[in-house]
Symmetry: C2
Subunit: 698 residues, 2 copies
């Protein structure tokens, strides 16, 4: 064992080199530039371990890194985990995987970064498949061996004894390890996010409602489907086309199918004129019928997928061919972004729709590495097309890794368990990820509503009707409820946009778990529950964390009800909380039980919370347009919220063209006063008249 | 790519060396000696591929072996697979795994051997984790590229295009590859089994009924539980003790707990006198309270499990310490065998009850290798204790690998899906494995019966009541049915014993899938079924095989009904088949539909089948005892069965002390005549008077 040697690379960020790292890493692929000034604003911090506490050795050509772990620590993150929030005691095999139905750690976005409840973070920057043993192994030479218990007599016997170490195993000749200081868990995450370039800032339209049309829809059918939203007065900003828009798909040509879309430019322009952006589905596999096939043939891998080429995106000529074709055929005619499918296949499904690890690529990269960063490469390439045009995009992708933070993509999955979807939303904020618990279909009106409520409080509010052909109004008996969900989404846009701006500027995730903030999480509990051994021979896992409620921005706490539920428990942190819909006050600092009608998503507002709402427009305001604000203040504490004000569509904000508009509420004997900070002369603000509302007073 | 160079190592068996193989392999660990004479009796055969058809290359330090695959081929085997029979089109990751709930290939016994419907077998003899791409990958340079289909228009689009190759990836500096000739699939399996030493031959008592008592039972409780079988007149041969017999368990001492078992020798002898053998549960992890702990400390791995040592079984001193202690404390006082638990942990459960791959051992073996062959090492060590005493054993184990064939262990699992249990029984016969679909509990009387029926037609008929405390008579409303199941098990013992003897002498698996014999499997069908894309985005797998019926010996076809079923389809191969219970005739060569009453397990007998039955004794005959036989002949064809006749308990048969007793039925105009071949003077036969019964005639 050799202790690692650490050098500081940014305020509160240290790096150590183990062995000889490979060139291809997630951070390198993401192309992120650390936001050094924002990191500096978080302040200096001490290295969160003893200097020689982290050590490494090589076992059978693999790097094994060992980190200390205290008895009470909880560990969070490691990507888009569906099965649990607290990873303490678990082994996480971080392979990218499209079908993560077991609690192995595999997922669409297996980010090799975790944060501790003790307030630090660890990133292992590898494009290989690392395994994190999060206190799931015990060494014979441990200084803190677990208590021995006899299973035959001791009811406290546990399948996972308490371990004093994290082991990370990387099958590579070397690897970079980063440590992020806190001092809080949230600050460790913020440092990670800022080190990865800060969060992505979606265009405003990206925060509107999205609808994806059916696999084989043609232009007329898509237009009719879009116009139905307008006719019924439902907000909608984005129409997504699924595989059938390609002349051939699975593998893809990336060319419009002439019989379904005889005039692509006119089609996109018509939708644009009516307030819709167009998003195009694609996957990475290139059809022999594609015009760009010959240009890609020599810069592609040894294996095919569905008979299509696997481009080597690390090769400049492959990127150039794809980017030129995409820009000319899609972006130049007004397409707003992409849905990048099937960049995350795995052996788990057993099917062949991914290139295997033994694939060889012209760059010398092998299939194992390429798979781990394939989604990231795909995101980077398409994001670059838009960035070069000074145009923001927002889209969907099924795979990510470390460094996804600054890329304008939201993860989605073919899984559909609603509790897992909410848990993933909680977990996304630990790892610099965005996730949509997309609505595809509902077996009942109740399920339809419950899923719609959650997706409308997520990074992307989307109905994906690619196979179902569903519409929001499919269940007439709940149509008013569904309409209200989508309208609430639209009304919350200023609040959501402000939360995303913080993500970009100071690294605070817009959607996050209770466990991310020490003041918001309950003390750790480790009950050994009653268990039926005939069903689970090893008993329950000993630790847990809240996985069914989440924060949106700083002031909203969302506690969804799931299909079949009429009531639920909600953890309210200390202080007063107020029902978003009624202003009713709830005392915090413990678990409360709530009953929930179908028409209400339970949302609680923090005391002093300021929630700016805009009208439920048919679509988001365009650059240069302004909207009036209804600003709600909840409770009795003073409040403050920084609204972000820019054109909402370009990268002008990166060149300094933006304003923070401070919404502030003060309290005097005479009552509450709300104010908004002014803008400089000549600044065209996205926000017009402000009216104040006072909720939950007294 | 380099073509492999093959040398013949036994009749119909070839070996090629790729790179520099490691010393630790499953075949080496199993210690098996090929049965060269029996292999020779199968005849010479041609190498089943073109001489240079199989090639290898190194990709990122892994060995990649490529084998040709014809369009219509089906592939079977690869260990104890629970999810499918035909592995064609799937990627199989052959990691040992205690919790194989997804269709990845992982399993308790991931045997790296497959057989083809074209009649050959391939073994990759590695203790690393190989991945088999069974026609799930397609190379860009393929000579037979798949047909391209557009998913947007072609209903025949498939998630898995037809591939022309098998790729095997082994993360090792080298590996041995074996090819087994057929010409039939069954003959390829037989060659593999014989090359691995031939099948194990259980003692006769091993084929009786087994009962495992509760975790914390003491000697009096166990005796009471055993005697209840006698009082109620249920057959029972083996009583299993679960962890509580140890003075400490999880980790284990392997020493009797004095307050529960004050007189172990007397306890075992009392049971023996009443016709019961005792089987002891253990796992590999050694408690600090064990007397042998100091002797093992320096020959154990770097990590602990439940605070216990992980012995390095490859070290002679570790084996010697454990074997001496086990012999003195258990075997010498009459213990008949072991149940070897938890030698198969995995990252899948996420818990820590396995040593990780980065464990280092004094021998230089690492944790990854040790895990793959841990169950095999454990089997070999305990089997050797008994073999040295000229005493046959039969027990349970949760992990195996290639070379398990000759070891006296039956696999079991904590899984409990009944269809998967039956599928595993089908699959076990492709890979030289034995498997028990053990009965643990039933939610209803129907489930209780359906599970009991199947386990009584399996390699080990066992009620494992370790957590449930169940007894066979728990559901009074079905007690006569359950009793009849267990009695049938006992009555079938001569037939089962004959089937196991064939396994030992000519390699034919006693339990096997329809697909193992070309004459018994239906022609391959590859329908693209209707599928709900909202549930499964990639549609169904294209190929299938019969996975819910199996053969026992040569003449019995078992087609279980599952809980909730009142009828089912059964594939009957060509020829007449007869209901075992009634003699009713069914025409074969297609699917038939049967209705099933709860009291009958559907069993069909091949035309001409000879089924010798003995009385449903309380326990199996001891060495030197003989039983009368009721021999049933079914149908109209002549028949022949070789009964195996030995002492049933020792290895005397390996020294030539056995007889084949030929049961033969001939037909003349005057009717049917049955005969049994005589034994030499002085031979003490296990079989006495023979009475003949004629079923399904006319």
């Amino acid at each position: 064992m050799t202790s690692l040697s650490w050098s500081i690379v940014a305020p509160g960020v240290w790096r150590a080199i183990v062995g000889t790292p490979e060139a291809l890493t997630p951070l390198a692929v993401s192309g992120a530039t650390p936001r050094v000034e924002a990191l500096a604003a978080l302040g200096a911090a001490d290295f969160p371990f003893a200097p020689d506490a982290i050590a490494a050795e090589v076992v059978s050509d693999k790097q094994v890194i060992r980190l200390p772990l205290a008895e009470e620590e909880e560990l969070f993150g490691l990507g888009l985990q569906f099965m649990r929030v607290n990873q303490r005691g678990r082994t996480r095999y971080l392979r990218v995987n499209s079908d993560p139905k077991q609690d192995t750690g595999e997922t669409h976005a297996p980010v090799p970064f975790y944060v501790s409840s003790r307030g630090y973070g660890v990133l292992v920057n590898t494009a290989r498949i690392p395994t994190f043993y999060c206190g799931s192994t015990v060494r014979k030479d441990s200084a803190h061996p677990p208590v021995l218990r006899d299973r035959g007599t001791d009811p406290n016997w546990q399948a996972t004894p308490t371990s004093d170490l994290v082991e990370v195993v990387v099958p590579a000749p070397g690897v970079e390890v980063y440590v992020f200081a806190g001092p809080s868990t949230l600050e460790a995450v913020r440092r990670y996010n800022l080190f990865c370039g800060g969060g992505t800032l979606p265009p405003r339209w990206g925060l509107g409602f999205w609808h994806r049309t059916m696999l084989t829809a043609n232009a007329d059918e898509v237009l009719a489907e879009a116009r139905a939203y307008r006719e019924r007065g439902y907000p909608c900003d984005v129409i997504g086309l699924e595989p059938g828009w390609h002349s051939k798909s699975y593998p893809c040509t990336y060319e419009w199918r002439a019989d379904r879309y005889p005039d692509p430019a006119g089609f996109v322009q018509t939708l644009r004129d009516e307030g819709f952006r167009v998003n195009l589905w694609e996957n990475p596999y290139v059809s022999p019928d594609a015009r760009i096939y010959p240009a890609l043939e020599s810069s592609s891998g040894s294996h095919t997928v569905w008979g299509g080429l696997v481009p080597d995106y690390t090769q400049p000529e492959a990127r150039a061919a794809l980017m030129q074709q995409h820009e000319a055929d899609h972006v130049a005619i007004g397409v707003s972004g992409y849905k990048l499918d099937e960049c995350d296949g795995s052996e788990l499904t057993g099917a062949s729709w991914i290139f295997p690890p033994q694939t060889t690529f012209p760059s010398g990269v092998d299939g194992e590495q390429m798979r781990q960063v394939f989604g990231l490469l795909f995101q980077r390439m398409t994001a670059d097309i838009f960035h070069q045009r000074d145009q923001r995009t927002y889209g969907l992708v099924r795979a990510g890794n470390a460094g996804s933070v600054s890329l304008p993509y939201v993860l989605y999955s073919d899984l559909y368990d609603h509790r897992q979807f909410v848990r993933a939303l909680c977990n996304s904020g630990f790892s610099g990820l965005l996730w949509t618990p997309e609505l595809r279909h509902g077996d009942t009106a109740e399920e339809w509503v419950r899923r719609m409520q959650v997706v409308c409080l997520s990074p992307m509010a989307m109905l994906n009707a690619w196979a179902s052909g569903s519409k929001p109004w499919d269940f007439p008996e709940v149509e008013p409820i569904v309409r209200a969900c989508i309208e609430l989404r639209m009304r919350l846009q200023p609040y959501l946009y402000a939360a995303f701006a913080r993500y970009a500027f100071d690294g605070t995730p817009p959607f996050r778990a209770m466990a991310l903030e020490e003041t918001l999480r309950p003390a750790s509990t480790a009950p050994v529950s009653e268990v039926d051994l005939t069903i689970d021979a090893y008993g329950p896992s000993a630790t847990s964390a809240i996985d069914d409620q989440f924060l949106v921005g700083d002031s909203l706490l969302v506690a969804p009800l799931f299909t079949g539920e009429r009531s639920r428990s909600v953890w309210l942190p200390a202080g007063d909380w107020f029902d978003f819909h009624t202003g009713e006050r709830f005392g915090g600092g413990g678990m409360i039980s709530i009953t929930g009608d179908l028409d209400k998503l339970p949302i609680f507002v923090r005391d002093g919370g300021i929630i700016p709402l805009m009208p439920a427009l048919a679509h988001s305001p365009r650059a240069g347009e302004s909207v009036p604000l209804e600003v709600r203040h909840y409770g009795n504490a003073p409040g403050r919220l920084e609204l972000f004000d820019d054109d909402g569509e370009t990268f002008a904000y990166e060149r300094g063209s933006y304003q923070w508009r401070t919404l502030e509420v003060t309290r005097a004997d005479t009552g509450y006063t709300g104010s908004i900070s002014p803008v400089p002369d000549g600044w065209l603000s996205a926000y017009g008249e402000v009216s104040w509302q006072w909720w939950g007073k007294g």
